[in-house]
Symmetry: D4
Subunit: 166 residues, 8 copies
């Protein structure tokens, strides 16, 4: 049973979301991926959100660009935690999608992460953080990811600092 | 039968929309006013938009602040012309609502006017411009409004230019 | 008789407007295309706008970049609905043209759509939405466009969701 | 045992967070409130975050203004979900705190909500959404909150639409 | 015979332009003041600009807010130097008028000064600088203004530096 | 004797200024070109500006990027008209140079034109407009330039409008 | 002998700099305060900077608003560390002064601190940090300031956390 | 013994920092280079900063992108002067890192230089300026650098001005 759903407003967003898929895979968190548009398939958006909890989903990640309404529209129909990933499109490079995603009026929250690929990764990590609250395996894997990540920085530090030693 | 609907995301937007009401009244264009929230009453938003054309509505004006999704959500459910008025709220003063309203992805347009009170007036004028295409009385009143407006600038010009004559 | 005029401030804007031409063609809406500059051919701009209604035009689309004055100048001389498309130029990438187009002072509205190519498409769709009010054929084609567009999203959803099924 | 911690970078942020306290109270979610500065009490920040999970905390809300590092610093020391509330200070009115909070590099996510008071409320609602995943009572109260909220919009709609009926 | 014309898009801009009037008075530069709107009295704008050189005007100052088209429209109809003063209006506080004024496409320049009251003063000083090229009296008064201005800073420096001496 | 000086803060700005050189050449306005840095050769900047009027210069064009201080520093030492061209550099693409150039405090004006290449051209046109006030030949050439420019737009209009005729 | 000079572009900046004076006083760092304008008293600026090192000054703090050139102009004439404080003025609220101060081209650095009053304080703290490198008393006082500051946050934390204990 | 430490948040920043290394080398200032992440290796960051003064370091340069917390986190643990270099990353091109670095709350200053490569160079120059206060050799080399730099501008001026002589 899928725990996380990743929704994107357009198929074009798929490559930028790769980092999210890889992280969820590595955490062994089952997820589904959907193309749902707040504007072009609004009924699907409402239906998906309304029935998400029943299907066992715990977290919904929504990636969209421009006037990114997807996360807000989904959040309007469910009390599940909704994470918004502002995708960066020309010409405003994500300032439009960031403000459209994060500036939700009081009453319906969307948890927004960084714009673009960085945000895709962070959305998966945040979803894992939520699931880790009730799933020790995920918690362990997330902690391991953190340790590995720190270790990689330490190795880079080692290499770089040596390179500049005189 | 109402020709124009003015929707606002929150009752707090009412005072800023006064200019729109007055203009529609002066053009004798029948209109209704609704408080519908894309996020807090999404079903009402979808229902309203879906049935708007049947009710005889010709133009829908949507005023909303912050991550202003109202116009986009309404436009997703109707082919009627939807005009978006970005309301200016603290702390981003309408940059968020402007981008959230105007930057609609290709496929579902929202016609956006100036932010705040100026936009409220212009939304009514634009609605009148659309209706004037098939209603000579509205066209005449809109032309008269334009002439009066020009005349007011000319009078101001007269006063000011005299004040500075030496 | 042309129903829509598409004006651009510079011949360079032509490629970005292709989406608008294709959509109007697909809706069988007759249109003309003009290069008129608010600054370099201001008399042509005034003349065009002043006589647009007489020529049977119903909607004017104006695409311009930088300090985009074209839509505002045209709107100053006609009560026909004027749609502004902010073109994105270096170095400010459309922030200048967006604000120059949308922030019309109260009294003369310009209906602004998304910046750049997305806006070109949406301007045609909005023009169609206006014409659809009094032309059932256009209304039907616009509705069909919407259904096709939704269907495309559903197909993309199908492909993508299957690709991630395990 | 507290489930949520609300951290603020400065005591001055207290009034703007009132909406968060009231919502958590209404959901009967036990929470603690702390003044911890990423820059002036960094050891406290690290200690708090490191031991947060052991203390039974499930979600940490961090409100800070200007170069708002608090949420990021807390997130660096825990895998608990961290929600960032960008507080709006003069002269950049929250653009600084929004970008400082949301634009976390890949690897350490902060879930960011709207700037200022709206965000304070939404942070509490998002914390409740997370807790609701494993606490039916919270889920029920959150759903009731949503229903009440929708009802309030409907009542406002009723009042306003009647006021404009002719 | 007036050498400078100060045009404003709206009578409301009058108070912010006071600094310009006082400076031109102090330089004994004859000037006229007009309320002309690029959008509400476009014919007056075109006529004024077209005949400005014949009337003996040497410099035209245009102050306007929002999508400030006034300076560009005037510049389109004359080769006289046109100075633009972006007026700061809510909610975008002059970012809209600055970009609408300064970002003229290549071919028709507008010389833009600071936004608001500071710009009003600087527009008068820049007009004086142009006139000073062919009018020794104005040149002398402008140089005297500069010397006085420097002297005022020196006096402030004297006061402040003494206040802090120990 | 040179009438116009074109100063640039760095030799790298040379290619972007080509349009200015060509226009001044076409107007037969004699000009000199200098590389003077407000920060790296401040004495040269002060000396140049102080002696510019004596050398017969009438207008100074200053092109600089980033925290563009060149125009302001030059203007501080002369009453000659100073035109600022904000050059667009990575990463802020001219927003920094635009604000650094245009936002001069009251007392010392800099007349700012569009950012980048468009501004380079417009700076030459504005310099010509100033010189045209006392030089009929320049005035005539500038008017001819305008007519040619309009004619080019008309030709483009002709081509494009025919291309879309059906 | 003064170690630090605080320069402001206008006497109006005095109140916002109060925090800097108090901090330097508390650190017993002797300082002078000057009103020097990059644009209105450029010779004074150059002279001051050129002779600053000889007078025994170690650090120069420059506070200016709008197109804030003061810090850059001073830095151009001295190798002493120059700290820039962007003052926030209407209408761009410090975005102009921040970019004008921080975006110095490579070769002449200005160390920029926060905009406005916060920056005034931080400029004094940064000056103290520089002086502390060779003055143990200042180092000790700065460390004490830090401890006191942390203690104040801890006390606020105590008060606030108790207030919310149940 | 190293006098300066250059920290970067990610190994990817290395190429952009080359200018800093070269300048410090040319000034014969010994320095170390480290990869330390405020978020991924927070303990290393705290440890490094806490022990930096003891190790003889005098200045710490911190380069980071996005929500750049590195400089602030380091500054929180030391009274040594900390210089922040905002690195420019997609999609916000350094606006996020600039504001995250410079807008430090009062109490803990970070001296921020230009974004990107220009800032890398300026950070080295500013570090040299600080060290020059107590190291005559560095002072001399820095002054020589300034003279060479001015000379290069003068040579460019020579070349360019000759190229345009007629």
């Amino acid at each position: 049973m899928n725990k996380v759903a990743i929704l994107m407003g357009s198929k074009n967003d798929l490559p930028d979301l790769k980092g999210a898929f890889e992280l969820l895979d590595s955490f062994k968190i089952p997820y589904c991926v959907r193309v749902i548009s707040a504007h072009r398939t609004p009924a699907e958006a409402a239906n998906f959100a309304t029935s998400a909890a029943e299907k066992g989903l715990k977290v919904i990640i929504c990636a969209a660009g421009m006037a990114a309404h997807l996360a807000g529209v989904i959040a309007a129909h469910t009390i599940l935690p909704v994470i918004g990933v502002p995708m960066a499109c020309e010409p405003f490079n994500g300032l439009d999608s960031l403000l459209s995603t994060v500036q939700m009026p009081p009453g319906i929250p969307v948890a927004t992460v960084s714009a673009g690929k960085a945000g895709a990764k962070n959305s998966a990590l945040f979803a894992a953080a939520i699931l880790a609250l009730s799933d020790k395996d995920v918690a362990e894997r997330l902690e391991q990811f953190r340790r590995d990540q720190s270790e990689q920085v330490r190795q880079a530090d080692n290499e770089v600092s040596k390179q500049f030693e005189k």
